[in-house]
C-alpha cells in the first residue's frame, strides 16, 4: 500500500469518521503537511444547536420555569408522562440528526472529538431537552478548554439528574456525583480517598437545576461548613472542588491517556508519552486543541504500530461506511436498531463509565453482524436481529416502529469513478488499499469466486462489498 495513502486514511479515520469518497482525491492532492491544518480549519465554525425538543415538551418545561413563582411546582402525572413519551421519540431524532452531522459535516474533527466526550461524560437521561442541552455543551466545547467543558457538563441538568445530585443535600449527602466527577471525569482511580469523596459530596450539595434545564444553586440545601478535599480545607462549594481537581496534574494525565487511547492506540500505551502529553496539556491551561496538536504532530502518531491497530466502534464503523459508500436511507430509523445490535447507542451509554471500546466491541454475534451489514445494504435486507429487551439499557429506545430493514439507495457513481481505470487483475488489491488499514494480503482466489463478472461496474461493486465484509475492515 502506498504510504501516503495509508497516512491520509489514518488521519481521516482517527480525527474524523474516515474518508469520504467524493473528496478523497482532493485530500490526496494536498501536501501531507496541509492535512492536519485543514482538519482543524474545517472545524472552526461553531456547531449548530440541535433543537429537536417538541414544542409541547418545551412549553411544559420552559414555560413553568419562566413563570418564576411556579418554578418548583411539580409536574402532574399526565404532564410527566407526556414529556417522557415525547422525549423518547425526540431522542431518536436527536440521535439520527447527530449521525447525519457526523456523516456529512466538514467539521469532522469537532464531531469526532465530541463523540469522545460523549463517551467520557456518559449520561443517561430520557429528558430530550436536557440531553440536547448537554450535547450542545459538549459539541461547543469539544475543541475548546477542558475547564469550560467540565464545568458546563457538571452543571448540566442531564448530568446532575443522572448522577443524583438533586438528592445530594446537607442532611443526606449523596456521593454519586462527587465520586464520578473524580473517578471518571477528572483524576481517575487511585488518586483520592473515600473520605475525599465524602467531603467533596458535601461541597456539591445544593447543585441542582430548574425544570427548563438551567443550573441553580439551592443555598438552603448546601452544606456551608468546612470540608477537607485532597489536602485542602475550606468552606468549599462545587466550583471550588472543580478548581481543586483541575489543579492536579493527574487530571491532565488522565484525560491525555484517554485521548491517546482514542486517537492513537488503545493497547500499546507508553507511559512517557502520557506524562509528556498530560504535562503539556496541564501547562497549556487545559486547551484541548493543544493536546490534539501534540498528538497528531508527534513523530509516533503515524508509526506503523499505530496504524490499523484500532477496532472501530459501531458508530465509527457505520458512519465510515456511509462516508465511503454514499447512500440515502429511506428509513433512517434502522440506524437505531443497528446501534443497539452492535451495542453502542448514542445517548444510552452502558453506564457512567461510557463504552469500554477495543476488543470489547467484538464478540461472536456483533462480529457476524458487522460482516453481514455491507451485503444487507445492497440487498436492502433486514437486519433480522433480536435486540435486547431490557428497559434499563434501552430506556426509550424500545418501541413499536423500530425499523430493521436497511432500505438504502447507494450512490455508486463516486466509487465507480474512483476505480474506473483499474484493471481487473489489480481491482481487489486496489479496493483493499482504499478500504483497509492493515497490510493483510487479499485472498485473491476467494475474492474471484465471489466477484460479479457481468461488467466492470458490478465487479467494482461486489469487490467493495466483499472487502467490507472482512475482519480487516473492522480496523482503522
Amino acid at each position: 500500500m502506498e504510504k501516503k495513502m495509508q497516512k491520509l486514511k489514518h488521519l481521516l479515520w482517527r480525527t474524523g469518521f474516515g474518508p469520504r469518497t467524493q473528496s478523497w482525491d482532493k485530500w490526496m492532492a494536498l501536501p501531507e503537511n496541509a492535512w492536519w491544518p485543514k482538519m482543524k480549519d474545517d472545524s472552526v465554525v461553531k456547531p449548530e444547536y440541535f433543537d429537536i425538543a417538541d414544542s409541547a415538551v418545551k412549553g411544559l418545561l420552559m414555560g413553568i420555569g419562566e413563570i418564576g413563582r411556579m418554578e418548583r411546582r411539580d409536574l402532574d402525572q399526565a404532564e410527566k408522562k407526556q414529556i417522557r413519551e415525547q422525549s423518547r421519540d425526540d431522542l431518536r431524532n436527536l440521535n439520527l440528526l447527530w449521525l447525519e452531522e457526523m456523516t456529512r459535516t466538514q467539521a469532522q474533527l469537532r464531531e469526532k472529538i465530541a463523540l469522545f466526550w460523549h463517551g467520557h461524560f456518559a449520561s443517561r437521561n430520557i429528558n430530550i431537552l436536557y440531553q440536547q442541552q448537554l450535547l450542545h455543551v459538549i459539541r461547543e466545547n469539544a475543541l475548546g478548554n477542558f475547564r469550560d467543558l467540565l464545568r458546563g457538563v457538571s452543571k448540566s441538568a442531564a448530568m446532575i439528574a443522572f448522577l443524583n445530585n438533586q438528592q445530594n443535600k446537607k442532611q443526606h449527602p449523596n456521593e454519586n456525583f462527587a465520586r464520578e466527577v473524580m473517578e471518571l471525569f477528572t483524576m481517575g482511580r487511585g488518586h483520592y480517598t473515600e473520605n475525599d469523596i465524602k467531603e467533596a459530596a458535601r461541597a456539591f450539595t445544593g447543585w441542582s437545576f430548574k425544570l427548563n434545564g438551567d443550573f441553580v444553586f439551592r443555598s438552603f440545601d448546601h452544606d456551608k461548613d468546612e470540608k477537607t478535599v485532597l489536602g485542602k480545607s475550606g468552606k468549599f462549594d462545587g466550583d471550588d472542588i472543580i478548581d481543586i481537581l483541575l489543579e492536579k496534574r493527574n487530571t491532565a494525565r488522565f484525560i491525555a491517556r484517554k485521548m491517546y487511547k482514542f486517537l492513537v492506540n488503545d493497547t500499546i500505551i507508553p507511559e512517557e508519552r502520557i506524562t509528556w502529553l498530560g504535562d503539556r496539556f496541564y501547562d497549556s491551561g487545559y486547551q484541548i486543541l493543544r493536546l490534539l496538536d501534540d498528538i497528531v504532530r508527534s513523530d509516533w502518531f503515524f508509526a506503523t504500530e499505530n496504524m490499523g491497530s484500532r477496532i472501530k466502534s459501531p458508530v465509527e464503523y457505520w458512519i465510515g461506511i456511509r462516508r465511503v459508500l454514499p447512500m440515502e436511507l429511506e428509513e433512517p430509523e434502522v440506524q437505531l436498531k443497528l446501534q443497539r445490535a452492535l451495542d453502542q447507542i448514542l445517548f444510552y451509554p452502558p453506564n457512567v463509565a461510557g463504552w469500554p471500546g477495543g476488543k470489547a466491541w467484538i464478540d461472536s454475534s456483533s462480529l457476524m453482524l458487522r460482516l453481514r451489514i455491507p451485503q444487507l445494504i445492497v440487498d436492502r435486507g433486514d437486519l433480522d436481529v433480536q435486540t435486547k429487551d431490557d428497559d434499563d439499557q434501552q430506556m426509550g429506545m424500545k418501541n413499536k416502529n423500530q425499523k430493521g430493514v436497511l432500505t438504502a439507495n447507494v450512490d455508486w457513481k463516486p466509487v465507480l469513478k474512483q476505480f474506473a481505470g483499474v484493471s481487473a487483475n489489480d481491482l481487489a488489491q486496489r479496493v483493499a488499499d482504499y478500504l483497509w488499514q492493515t497490510e493483510t494480503r487479499v485472498p485473491v482466489q476467494v475474492l474471484e469466486k465471489y466477484t460479479a463478472r457481468d461488467d466492470k461496474d458490478s465487479s467494482i461493486k461486489s469487490v467493495m462489498i466483499r472487502l467490507m465484509a472482512t475482519p480487516e475492515y473492522q480496523l482503522c
Binding site: N164, Q167, K169, Q171, H172, N174, E175, N176, R179, E183, R189, E194, T267, E305, G308, S309, R310, I311, A341, D343, N351, V352, A353, K359, A360, I362, D363, S364, S365, S366, L367, M368, L369, L371, R372, D384, V385, Q386, T387, K388, D389, D390, D391, D392, T438, T440, R441, P443, Q445, V446, K449, Y450, R466, A469, T470, P471, E472, Q474, L475
Partner: protein
Amino acid sequence: MLIKRRDFLKTGSLATASMFMPKFLKAVEGRNMLAPKGKVLVMLQMNGGNDGLNTVIPVRNDIYYKERKRIAVPRETSLSLGTEAGLHPVLSALKNAYDDGEMAVLNSVGYPNPDRSHFRSMDIWQSASAASEYWQTGWIGRFLDAQCAGRPSAALEIDDTLSLALKGTQSKGLALKDPKRLYESAHNQYFVDYSAAHTDQHEEAPVAYLYKTMAETLSSADYLFEQSRRKPASGNYPATGLGKQMKTIASLILADTDTSVYYVSLGSFDTHINQEAQQKRLFTEMNEALAAFIKEMKANGKWNDVLLATFSEFGRRVSQNASGGTDHGTANNMILLGGSLREKGLINPMPDLTDLDAGDLKYNIDFRQVYATLLERWLDADAEKILGRKFDMLGFV
C-alpha cells in the same frame, strides 16, 4: 444456623438413580478429569448493586426497620425463610425452591477493601481479583483456559456482548442471544471460505483476534443450533428479556450441549431513587423466568445437574437515603438454587446490623471462596490455579 434439612429420598424420586452416579464417582476421580457431562453452572448477574437486605429480609431485626422506615419490607408480606428471615414478596419461585430444600442463601459475601463504584466492583467480581489488583481476564475465562481448550461453546453468555467474566487469555466464551440468530448470521459460504483462506501467521494482534473470533463462531454456530433444535424448551417462559434467556439456556441443557457455564444478567438494580417499584419490577421478571426454568429442569430430570447462583457487584447501605432508595454498599447475599445442594436454607447467619463499617455490612465470606467451591466441587477444576491463590472451600456442594 437455619438449615432446613430435607428428605434426601424425595429428590431421588424426581430423578433416576443414574443421575446421582456422576456425583458419587466424582468423589473418587482425579481433579484433572473433565467435568462430568451434564454438570451445569448458571451465573445470574444482577447489575447495578442489588439491595440484598430487601431481598432476604431480616424480619426480626429492629435496626433494619428503624433504618428503613420508608422502604423496609414488612415481615407479614415477606415469604418466610424460617423465623429470622423472609424473602421479598414477589420471589415465590425461590420460596418454593426453599421449601423443597433446593435453595440456599449465603449471607455477607464480599471482599476486603470493598469498592463502591459499579464497574470497578463488577470488574473485581468478574475477574476475581483482589480490590488492589487489576486483572484483564475473567474467572470463567481462566476456567476455559485451564480445561476447555478446543471447546468454544464451553461457556456461553446469553447476551449481545461478552462480559469480562468469560474472557480468558487463550479461550473466550461465546456470546449469543439465541442459537438460531447465531446460526443464521454465520451460515454464509463466503465467510467460511474467507475464514479458511486466512493462513497468515504473522498478524498484528487485532486482526488475529478478529479471525479467531470468526473461526470459533462459525464452528460453534452449527453445533449449538443443531443441539438447540433437538429438544426445544417448552415451559411457560415469560416474554421478558430474562424469560427468553432462561428459555435458551433450558433448551441447550435439555439437548446435553457440551456447555458447562451459562452466564446471564439482569438489571439495573441501582436503586438510588424509588427503590420499591424498580426492585419489584426486576424481581418479578426474575421470578417468572426462574419459575419456568426450575419447573422445566425438574420435569426433565436435569435439576440435580444444575446449579444457579445469583450475585451483584455490591449490596447497599443499611440506611435508606432521602429519595426512597439506597446508596452503594458493600457485602451482599448470594442465592444458590439447584437439585443437589448439600447445604440448604440460610447457610450462615443473617448479617449483623450492630456491627457495621461506616454504615455498611461487613463481609464474612469472600466471594472467591464461593467461586473456588463452584470451580473445584461443581466444575471439577483446579480452583487455586484459576484464582491465583488458595481459598477455603464452602460446603454447599
